[in-house]
Amino acid sequence: MSTQQSFNAVVAGDSPPPPRRARESHARSWDGLGVGFLAKLGLMAVINALGLAAIWSAFVGGAWVLLGAMVVLLVVADWIYFTKRQVPLKYLFPGLAFLAVFQLFTIGYTGYVALTNYGTGHNVSQEQAVDALLSQNEKKVPDSPSFPLTIVRQDGELGFAIVQGGAAKVGTADQPLELAPDATISDTVVTAVPGWEVVPKNQVLSDAALADEVLALRVPLSDDAADGSLRTGDATIGAVYRSVLTYDAAAQTMTNTETGVVYHATDQGQFVADDGSALPVGWKVFVGLENFGKAFTDDTYAGPLVKIIAWTFVFAIASVVVSFFFGLVLALIYNDPRVRGRAVLRTLFILPYAFPAFLSALLWRGMLNANPDYGIINQLFFFGARVEWLDDPTLAKVSLVLVNLWLSYPYWFLVCTGALQSLPDDVQEAARIDGAGRWRTFRSITLPLLLVSTAPLLIASFAFNFNNFTLIYMLTGGGPRFTDTSATLGHTDILISMVYQISGVSGGRADYGLASALSLIIFVVIGVISTLMFRRTRQLEEVN
């Protein structure tokens, strides 16, 4: 009260403004006990400690982008909270940081993937692809026996000792296997070699650096490389391997040493020979806007895409409108004081809302089985007739909207009940006095007022249903399938379930690049629609 008065006084110019104290940032101020400052200092210490820990683990893991992002976030945080200026940012920063981490990063990363050919066969970096190809094509020499193997060391250089034909042999990477007549053999395993230190298996297994060395060690059988070399995968058994592929990092080529075929790295992320044959493992490369074009030009997707976009809109709009009005009607009925036992009835109506949606969808799938012996809907309500709820394109769509109605009307019932109870009585009373009937009052007073508070929820619900993957996946799985295209899509697929199909995550043949491009298209569509609708909402508010 007194603040208000002095403020008014200042504005009115009745008295001179109070002398302004030189304001110090509360970050550094030390008023009274300084509890607030200490609390902040403590909080910032914790944040800095967490940030430094994250930076350190990013450094250890070699995640440079993450490291950079963490450093920037931490520096900005410290700057904001220890400077005098930037008061608004002190409040906004946590939200902005979370927005950046959880939203912008995801969108950015999806955009990045959409520009690549990331998917099956192009899953790894080129370096990893080369490693994988080399290890896939380093093949055991046919009929090579397995040798019990001992790891030995001399002057820091590792070697293998094996027993071949009853005689011990020792060799290193530079020194092909040689007979070691002085070695001690017990039970077909070399246990000691003069001049060499035997490295126990446990030591190898327990030392990651040593284990890597042992895995990488190839001991040639002889001076002739064609004989192959000895390697081990578990430090106890060795076998003879021969590499079929050699990699030339400078020329970016893989050469098959048996056939002489040279495979060149292409900008499509694959090693391809002149005759067109390719090595199986490819890697991720940038393909530009190819994925965006594919969604609209590739025959397998272009036809279904149009139908699916149309159905996505129909499904989202119908779901929202139908369940909103059903919920509203129920809310109007049960808002009438003449209805007895309203509390109990309201609780009953909320029951469907309490079940997890995916479980309900699965139950409905069973209940809608066309065979009346299994599908309780046909048995109870259609006199045992065979109505193919989920197998007929039109009925499947109707089923989806009806099941979604069952799932979501309780939500609208709740929302509308709350909104109705908060409507001012005097306006409605005035309408009644002016001679408006029930319908007129509802249409001109109640509904517009109701829409002011529920329109944002309607838009959110539309966006949710636009991406209501769970219901589609659990109830129809997108089926029944289109019969006029070879795309594995169906009449009830919406955009998001189409993306899931194309991403091929379930089948093991994925195309994440294409799926990301489609996701971005969906994101843009929803963004545009939401913006337009919110504009309209503002017009609604002017009613008030």
Binding site: Q136, S146, K201, N202, L205, A208, G233, A235, I237, D391
Partner: protein, 420 residues
């Protein structure tokens, strides 16, 4: 138990050492000689960490293997991460390249194709131990001459018969249906069709009896990428599906899902069904006695159902490849661990000696016999593309919504286009 004992001993030792350090101020411990593991009384083993992905069902089985491993390697911290089996393949493909994946994952052999082209699986050298496994199991995990996984269990489907209703399973389809009708039950036969989605897997034994394998096979049994379902044999099978479908004899129905088919059989409404070992508990739990027989021939040739092999894959980006290899080759690939895996989660053991050991159970023996007659499910990368088209074609023929010949030919054309 032993692990706990060892841990306690180690903790005691540590406390004693601390006490020694703090007590004897004038005799400082020599920092250059750390306690040598060789002198320790506890069993010396590797130390490090392994992460293994398993599904909920097989967690106890793998835990049993890990317990045996930890008896000799108590310092290896093995973490079992439970995932949905359906998610493992996609997650493995996505996470291995980032370095976040596991060292070892459980998986099915038909994932191998996509693991190869994505370079996420590492070859495993089992040495002489490979000979101890069933040939179909090692073959299934072999690609281009290299083994990429350690097989541990086989699965196959067979005819399951209600012994109270019928006394035997005839060798041909027509005879079986005739015998099933004599039992005067609601249906002579039920099979999981997976609703309108279709389930070519369960029907595959009937298909192969027409001589129409999904892919053509080389002489050594490995699959080529050439579709084998075309031609007269494939069309004959399509016609067979239509004749027995809902607009025909009604022996197949798209109303039957896994649950419905199993329930009808468990209720005694059908004397025969084609099912896997995983459904047996449902049947015996409902109080019926079952016997397991090979699938009868519908097209004149032997009915060869798919054999799936379950095994362990090694990640190509694992940081502990040696430990992982050691765990797989020297511990899991031993009879007692394979037996422990079987005891915890009964699937047909892939190791011959253990399979013989458990074949005294007639149901196990029945499925083993069916598996021996079966063909490994193709693990070539192309297989992933086939299912969707194949299931849909069969389902539309069975429901009668498409003409057998047209639907089958459209499937073949779509597959040709997709596989290139």
């Amino acid at each position: 138990m032993r692990k706990t004992l060892f841990r306690t001993a180690a903790a005691l030792a540590a406390v004693t050492m601390l006490a020694a350090c703090s007590g004897g101020g004038d005799t400082p411990a020599d920092p250059t000689t750390p306690a040598a593991p060789e002198t320790s009384a506890a069993p010396a083993g590797a130390s490090g960490a392994l992460t293994i992905w398993v599904d909920e069902n097989r967690k106890p089985a793998v835990q049993a293997a890990v317990d045996i491993y930890n008896e000799t390697n108590p310092d290896v911290d093995v973490e079992l991460v439970v995932k949905n089996f359906e998610d493992i393949r996609a997650d493995f493909l996505a996470q291995v390249p980032t370095g976040e994946g596991p060292d070892i994952t459980i998986g099915a052999h038909d994932w191998l194709g996509s693991f190869i082209v994505n370079g996420v699986a590492e070859p495993i050298d089992m040495g002489a131990k490979a000979a101890e496994f069933e040939t179909v199991a090692t073959q299934a995990f072999t690609y281009d001459g290299q083994m990429y996984g350690l097989p541990y269990a086989l699965e196959s489907i067979a005819v399951v018969r209600n012994t109270a209703l019928v006394d035997s399973t005839p060798a041909t389809w027509d005879e079986m249906i005739a015998k099933g009708k004599e039992a005067k039950t609601k249906y002579p036969f039920v099979i999981n069709t997976n609703g309108t989605t279709g389930d070519a897997y369960t029907y595959y034994g009937l298909q192969t009896s027409f001589g129409a394998p999904v892919f053509k096979q080389n002489a050594d049994g490995s699959y080529t990428s050439e579709i084998g379902m075309g031609g007269d044999a494939g069309l004959a099978y399509a016609k067979f599906l239509g004749e027995n479908g809902m607009k025909g004899a009604g022996n197949f129905s798209t109303d039957w899902t896994y649950d419905v088919a199993n329930q009808e059989f468990a209720d005694g409404n059908a004397p025969y069904t084609i099912a896997g070992p995983w459904a047996i508990a449902t049947f015996t739990g409902a109080g019926i006695d079952v016997a397991v027989d090979p699938i009868p021939s519908a097209g004149g040739q032997p009915a060869a159902p798919f054999v799936g092999v379950q095994g362990f894959y090694l990640s190509s980006q694992s940081d502990s490849k040696l430990i992982a290899n050691d765990f797989l080759v020297n511990y899991v690939a031993t009879a007692n661990v394979i037996k422990a895996l079987y005891d915890a989660d009964p699937r047909l053991p892939a190791m011959t000696s253990v399979a013989d050991q458990v074949a005294s159970d007639p149901i196990v023996a029945g499925f083993l016999a069916s598996a021996k007659q079966g063909a490994p499910m193709p693990s070539i990368p192309e297989m992933g593309d086939v299912w969707e088209y194949w299931n849909a074609a069969e389902s539309s023929i069975i429901s009668g919504s498409a003409e057998p010949e047209a639907a089958w030919n459209k499937m073949l054309a779509d597959l040709e286009a997709k596989l290139g």
